[in-house]
């Protein structure tokens, strides 16, 4: 049982180091609080965001930094054991333009292995999609409009 956990943990951790590194420009890893008995402790995330040169506490991260860490974790788990689809509702709410673009490109590259359905108001995110569904409200009723193919 511990073996199955450690397999999963190490697989996802290797992905995380690579994916978070690519997305943030910094470095990061997952750490088990109790390496001897994982089920006795929690899961820490240690990150050194781009431009910073000391590991910073997870709690002190900015909104955008936390979003990149969270998305990296989701992508890492997906790469290890893909679900057939992922549904994201405004996961770019804290991301600046540059990071929204990076996440959009990453979703696009992962979308050959899984289906991604992403709600966003951000141009940089929409630009990376293979197509955009427009939703509008008329007389209190929602309609789907303009299905544009990129």
């Amino acid at each position: 049982k511990r073996e199955a956990f450690m397999n999963t943990f190490n697989g996802i951790n290797e992905n995380f180091k690579e994916i978070y590194g690519g997305l943030s420009g910094g470095s990061g890893e997952l750490v088990l609080e109790d390496e001897e008995d994982p089920f006795n402790g929690g899961l820490w995330i240690r990150t050194m965001p781009e431009g910073k040169n000391m590991v910073q506490r997870l709690q002190a991260m900015s909104g955008g930094e936390k979003s990149l860490i969270a998305l990296s974790l989701i992508f890492s788990a997906q790469k290890f054991q893909p679900s057939p689809f992922y549904i994201f509702d405004e996961v770019d709410m804290f991301l600046d333009g540059v990071n929204a673009g990076k996440v959009s490109s990453m979703i696009r590259s992962f979308s050959s292995d899984a289906q991604f359905i992403v709600i966003s108001l951000r141009k940089k995110m929409l630009e990376g999609a293979h197509g955009v569904l427009g939703v509008t409200l008329m007389d209190g009723i929602s309609h789907i409009t303009g299905v544009r193919l990129n």
């Binding site: 199955a4 956990f5 999963t8 943990f9 996802i12 088990l32 609080e33 089920f39 402790g41 929690g42 899961l43 995330i45 991260m61 909104g63 936390k66 979003s67 860490i69 969270a70 998305l71 974790l73 989701i74 788990a77 290890f80 054991q81 679900s83 057939p84 689809f85 992922y86 549904i87 994201f88 509702d89 405004e90 709410m93 696009r108 050959s112 289906q115 991604f116 359905i117 992403v118 709600i119 966003s120 108001l121 995110m125 929409l126 990376g128 999609a129 293979h130 197509g131 955009v132 569904l133 427009g134 939703v135 509008t136 409200l137 007389d139 209190g140 009723i141 929602s142 789907i144 299905v147």
Partner: protein, 165 residues
């Protein structure tokens, strides 16, 4: 295996619509309040995915369309899955999952169907888990929730790895 299309009748702000999805990267956009998150709620509803946040409804009947002085009595959501790679144990390229809510004199009822046959929620979840669709939905991130995985306790975060293993 992917979501082909979503057919919605009288669910939240949708009266009657069929929404197609790309097999790779579909984006959804539009003004505030137009119904984008309601589409997600429809998918969560039909797959019986439980999220603590729910679908922003106090009781199931809140999900039935009401507007223009009309209060509908019956809502239905159908999700058509593309099964061309045979992941789901069914014949045919499409698997249709449906769920409804119907108001009655003394309350309401809500049933699940796979390809027209009534199924229990647990049957539906067993069927979906074969295709790696988890009913606790780590693959669904609702509006405002993206940093939850950071804010949660270290213990709960490790439990996510447990669930995958």
């Amino acid at each position: 295996m992917h979501i082909k299309r979503l057919e919605i009748r009288n669910f939240k702000s949708f009266k009657k619509v069929a929404i197609p999805f790309y097999s790779d990267f579909t984006a959804i956009s539009g003004p505030n309040g137009c119904g984008k998150s309601n589409i997600i709620d429809a998918i969560v509803f039909v797959l019986g995915i439980s999220r603590s946040k729910g679908m922003r409804a106090e009781k199931l009947t809140d999900l039935i369309f009401k507007g223009n002085g009309i209060e509908e009595s019956h809502a239905e959501v159908s999700l058509v899955l593309d099964n061309d790679d045979g992941t789901l144990r069914f014949d045919g390229d499409e698997v249709k999952i449906k769920r409804n809510i119907k108001k009655t004199d003394n309350g309401y009822y809500s049933y699940y169907y796979i390809n027209g046959h009534p199924v229990s929620l647990s049957d539906l979840h067993d069927t979906l888990s074969v295709a790696n669709i988890s009913s606790d939905g780590y693959s669904v991130v609702m509006q405002g929730d993206v940093t939850n995985i950071i804010e949660m306790s270290d213990y709960r975060r490790r439990r996510i790895i447990d669930d995958i293993a």
